[in-house]
């Protein structure tokens, strides 16, 4: 038995893109183990999400529908994930807020070892080793799990999205109703989603991040640059803490980890915890007044300049380049 179960992330009846990264992991790891992978899709009505999941090359898609799964709560999801996961060698999801919340709870339920936020899986025979960043990305640990079932979350930016491949059969799985106390003592009061026209940070090809230096002009200066590049907007922790940017834009060890093709660090000094969130980017551009800022030690292209005149000029010139 060396099969893998992917726990899909579903929002408003649709499969979230985060799921693709866990599928990419499963494709690699199941091939190495000589097994297959299945995708578990849970919610109150998941036929659309299951249909999407069925195009990702899985041996099968398992759907579990129950009215109590309409909104996600770890206390309600974990029993079913664990019960179905028992038939697999690896239970995997993506290390989004959903995966980070749910998967350790599933690991606790299965009395299984959990490897969090991994960036690579290495197979040697039928043994899997998980490479994961530690110390704010300043070291990689090679984790091995001693329990029969492994629970794993994968870093989205380290596993590129899976392309559609074939059609998988969809079958119904059993809903395991939570017993005990926890599920009855938690309720979701509200979920405020910020709708954005921009691509999601973790998925964007280009990310423009700003630091505290932008002050109240954070959006005014950076929005035009994002628009011309089709980029996602990010921020340093300092900018979020100061209230110049909402906290879900934070890029760093404790925020989002991104690895786009092109990353702009505007007015960001480059604290260790910020670098942990972006140094996997392919090309890094830094604009900062302070020529000694640590960000220049990782930037491919550094411009020592005042950002306030520089960024609008950059927008103008990129527009000209794109125009022809």
């Amino acid at each position: 038995m060396a099969d893998i179960l992917v726990v899909a992330e579903v929002a408003e009846g649709k499969l979230k893109k985060t799921t693709h990264s866990a599928v990419t992991f499963a494709r690699t790891a199941s091939a190495a183990l000589g097994g297959t992978y299945s995708i578990l899709v849970m919610g109150d009505a998941v036929s659309d999400a299951a249909a999407e999941a069925a195009s990702l090359g899985a041996a099968k898609v398992i759907t579990v529908e129950d009215a109590s799964l309409k909104i996600y709560l770890a206390e309600r999801f974990a029993p079913t994930v664990a019960a179905i996961g028992k038939g697999f060698a690896v239970v995997v999801g993506t290390a989004s807020a959903f995966g980070k919340d749910l998967l350790p709870r599933v690991a606790g339920r299965l009395a299984s070892g959990y490897a969090a936020d991994i960036t690579e899986v290495i197979a040697s025979g039928d043994k899997l080793t998980y490479k994961r960043p530690m110390f704010a990305g300043n070291a990689f640990g090679m984790a091995t799990i001693a329990t029969p079932i492994h629970v794993v979350s994968v870093r989205q930016s380290a596993f590129s999205a899976t392309e559609p491949a074939g059609t998988s059969p969809i079958e119904k799985g059993a809903f395991t109703a939570p017993t005990g106390n926890a599920h009855g003592r938690v309720e979701l009061l509200s979920l405020e989603q910020v709708k954005s026209e921009r691509p999601e940070l973790a998925e964007a090809r280009v990310v423009v991040s700003g630091g505290r230096a932008l002050k109240e002009k954070f959006s005014e200066v950076l929005d035009p640059l994002c628009d011309v590049l089709g980029a996602a907007l990010g921020a340093s922790r300092a900018a979020c803490d100061a209230g110049y940017a909402p906290s879900d834009l934070q890029v760093g060890q404790t925020g989002k980890v991104v690895a786009p093709s092109l990353y702009f660090a505007i007015g960001i000094s480059g604290a260790i915890q910020h670098l942990a969130g972006m140094k996997g980017s392919k090309v890094i551009v830094a604009i900062n007044k302070d020529g000694d800022a640590p960000i220049f030690q990782v930037a491919d292209y550094g411009l020592v300049a005042d950002l306030f005149p520089s960024v609008p000029e950059l927008v103008k010139q990129i527009k000209a380049v794109k125009a022809g």
Binding site: A107, N138, M142, R185, V186, Q193, K282, Q297, L303
Partner: protein
Amino acid sequence: MKILVPLKRVADPDNANKVKIPAAGDKIETTGLEWKPNPFDEYALEAALRLTENGQTPKVRAGEVVVVTFGPKETEQTLRAALATGADRAIRIDTTDDKLDGDLVARALAALIEKEKPDVVVMGKQAVDGDSNQVGQILAELLDWPMATFAATIKEEAGALVVSREVDGGVATMRVKLPAIVTVDLRIVAPTSVYSTKTAATFKYNDGVRFAALPAIMAAKKKLLVEIKLADLAADQALKVEYKAFQAPPARKAGIKVKDVTELVTRLKNEAKVL
């Protein structure tokens, strides 16, 4: 309200780029780095103190804050510092640092909680050395308690906490009835993040965590600190996750400095080919 706050010491996170991996790659060398409390655990302690006081009178504790750590004798420094900051009592679970994983820590904490019976466990969402973000969730499952992870705000109600959590693309607000686990995120120490039922809604805290005054540091030496053997809490000490090798991340070379925006755009287009 009685709150348990687990604390972990970590190699100075502001110098995390100074951790070294010896040629054999069998361990992480943190020699020369100072031990500091995990920042998220400091935030958890601050949140626990705010939940057990009227913000106007922070020296008066309404309830009890118990801090606990795992490690050798020297980790008592971390506990003493927490006692000086305002915690009432401390427990050190005696073990070496390297014979632990998230699962064993969660199992030992669960056993301790059976004895201590706190109303809430407030803890950091992750330790910034291992960066695993797991113990709170595993502990909640072992105890069959509800949990609210990555908390940005906490408001106490009678017998419950209302917690707002930062999730992808928004904020989820939940109510957990006690006893419960809360793991905290960075913004839990903002001026209006945590309110006990005693603190006026108009009250604003100073930003960040509080610091111990000298008399409190002296008084902390007299506060109760007990030692418990790890074996008394967890008979099975087998690790589920082990690290047998480590690698340094690929070094990223500093690139070039461009003289102006025009050169930058030209190089991005012609050299990096990303425009």
